[in-house]
Amino acid sequence: MTVHTLIPPRPTPASGCGDDAVLRERGQREVFCGLTSIVWLHRKMQDAFFLVVGSRTCAHLIQSAAGVMIFAEPRFATAIMEERDLAGLTDANDELDRVVGRLIARRPDIRLLFLVGSCPSEVIKLDLHRAAQRLDRSFAPRVRVLNYSGSGIETTFTEGEDAALAALVPHMPAAPRDARPSLLVAGTLADVVEDQFRRLFADLGIADVGFLPAQRLADLPSVGPATRVLLAQPFLRDTAKALEERGASLLSAPLPVGAEGTTRWLQAAATAFHVPRERFQNVTAAGNARAEFAVRRHRAALAGRRVFLFPDSQIEIPVARFLARELGMEIVEVGTPYLHRTHMAAELDLLPAGTAISEGQDVERQLDRCRRAAPDLVVCGLGLANPLEAEGIATKWSIELIFTPIQGYEQAGDLAELFARPLARRQKLAV
């Protein structure tokens, strides 16, 4: 085992990727819409219900993405608009009140109801904000009713979470004027990961730590000028803005992906909270060493291999950084649906210089580039994976990067394994 160092001693390129030209594409985008984030948001927020106001397509999308989860008692549903709602034969607001009333009567455990806008509700300009305010008044104080849009015309996949969290921010309690600095971790993390980070922050001596979203509405953390925000997910453009509007300040850090990313992410908090260097090292040494060890087991299988990442969730750049720096993979292209230069600044600095980045998508052209490059592994969505496999190209489903816990020290090995598995499987198969 190597001697643990605070920051892994791999050379950081002078400029990283920060200034490189980014290929911007505007063609067919093979991505989910923001409604899809309901699949994990409803698991995390245990007293919240997500009511999509949309079409049969919306309902079909969510059940297709949620898979077997739909067979549990789900805390999401679609109010499917019908011809008479559009033709103005019935007042859409009366209909919505009726549907919500029925829903709340049936689910007395619900404390927070999100009315979630969709493509059709946005196009017909159904004012869900006003509807939410009206329903909020009528169900207060038992149920809060908020709204956001998860429509495909405005949000891509994980941006649905961004919109949901941004809608929550105005309802976070105000931190007292004389509050001591507190830490707020924004972005959904698996409960097990959240607990690991809570322990690490406690050990670092950062006492006041909140997580957004909270499991229950009543546990929504407070926010104010003394709040320091650490983003745990890369897609929180509007949430970060809303938090800043409430006086919070954003810490710049890479995401807690991989050993290096986790250490640097924790370091950003430690620096802001004046944690002594020695204490930081003592607290993080064991986890960092375990993560490095677990990742190293997969390095032989992946080092030198060429990987192509299709845009999906915005986690692509942090993952590419991890694959390049901790597993020695060569990044052929890393696509992202949207590139937030400020939030990604620390990540871009760490990416190998000259890494090809694309923003947006023209899926046919991107597939052309991918086939020409003949990478060893393609990270892509489920609509593309089997067709590429059938062409002889190994793939890794990008959706697993969102649905499985990958953040933090203890998950770094699992993350590496996700990429090693398709290659290992191909080696084993003799049919």
Binding site: R56, E82, S151, I153, P387
Partner: protein, 512 residues
Amino acid sequence: MQLTLWTYEGPPHVGAMRIATAMEGLHYVLHAPQGDTYADLLFTMIERRDRRPPVTYTTFQARDLGGDTAGLFQDACRAAYERFKPEAMIVGASCTAELIQDDPGGLATTLGLPIPVIALELPAYQKKENWGASETLYRLVRGLARPRAADHVRGPRPSCNILGPTALGFRHRDDLLEIRRLLETIGVTVNIVAPLGARPADIARLGEADFNVVLYPEIADAAARYLEKAFGQPAVRTVPIGVGATRDFIAEVARVAGIAPLTAEAGSRLPWYSRSVDSTYLTGKRVFVFGDGPHAVAAARVATTELAFELVGIGTYSREFAREVRAVAAAHGIEALITDDYLDVEEQIAALRPELILGTQMERHIAKRLGIPCAVISAPVHVQDFPARHSPQMGFEGANVLFDTWVHPLMMGLEEHLLHMFRDDFEFNDRSGSHLGKAPAPAASAVAALEPAPSVVPTTTRWDEGAERELRKIPFFVRGKARRNTERFALERGIATITLDTLYDAKAHFGR
């Protein structure tokens, strides 16, 4: 607005995708917002297709709405034509694009592409997936099919088209193989199968056949009616699911084709298996049927006339087939459940307490929750509905498959019962369990529904130890009924303590 937690059918444009994906040389340009591409993964993941569906989406975003979405659509058509060089194109809108009223059909026509372009109008706020598939096939047939040439020479054998099999269809792949083999065995040549595997040029040749076989009426009936009217092609409409229906199918084909009906029952095992004495215990099993219209109707016939089950409930999510399903229900003296809300289905199943459910994947999950054996008979499809092995529902081999898949869950039930009976024996204690692993752990409400605790029926009676022990020897799937009947019997007679005698007096009284 309709509150929907889960839906049996997707939107109509997914039906159109099922037609386009089934075919070769056809491309679908869909005016749709970003996100609607999710439908691709139904085909690549559930059906494990090795190619992307031949669909180009405009994936417009909010910023495009203020601008030229019509231009975006035309660009997408042009690019799709250049890249894929299809022989024909279908164009249409998904739910959101329907609202912005760009008229994909008109826009595509003005491009002057050198191929047939067929416009689809699929009202997304009224119609659903099967209707969309049916309408798409109808529009393709109407737009492309040509009548038989004047100098057409009849072949030595009558010929037919097989209409209906699609991509993402419930066992369509295997049914097609089975029915094609059957038709060839009885002396009928298959001209074209559509849409599965057909090219636009094949659709043009539909008129050459003598008649059409409507394998899946929910998809092909409208097209067949058009061909009947336009080209005078008769249609065979018997859905050959089950032994009896397959015999009827052969008879109908023979009548329409003008040939002698042949028996083609080699390898048909259901009739003998069903008459075999070990099947006696299937008699009168209470079965609940739910699925798309044609599959539900067919399942009711097989269940009652080929396995001697009792039909206690039947329903469908296909409103288009409500009449047919109601007719079957009426023939069995019950009322049909026509709904696309699975909570209604669950409620009725819980109330009826059937011993077997024949349903969709959703009923499979309901059955799991309620601890009732279940077999899947209908779409919506699941990855399990694309087995690696040949597993048709239609024809004589299909009937063999039905026998196995419907009876095996019950066999398991019988074995489970034997283990319960012998559980006091040293080799059969609860800890050794059955091969099924632990007994199902249904949700609390379901347990209450199925294992009727005495508290369910307000009663002052109690069971003495001997009667209670005897009750446990009764097969678990009728135990609840025995307990209820005995308690009712005791209550009506003011018997405070149920003894062995009360139990058997009640049994004689209710005479099961």
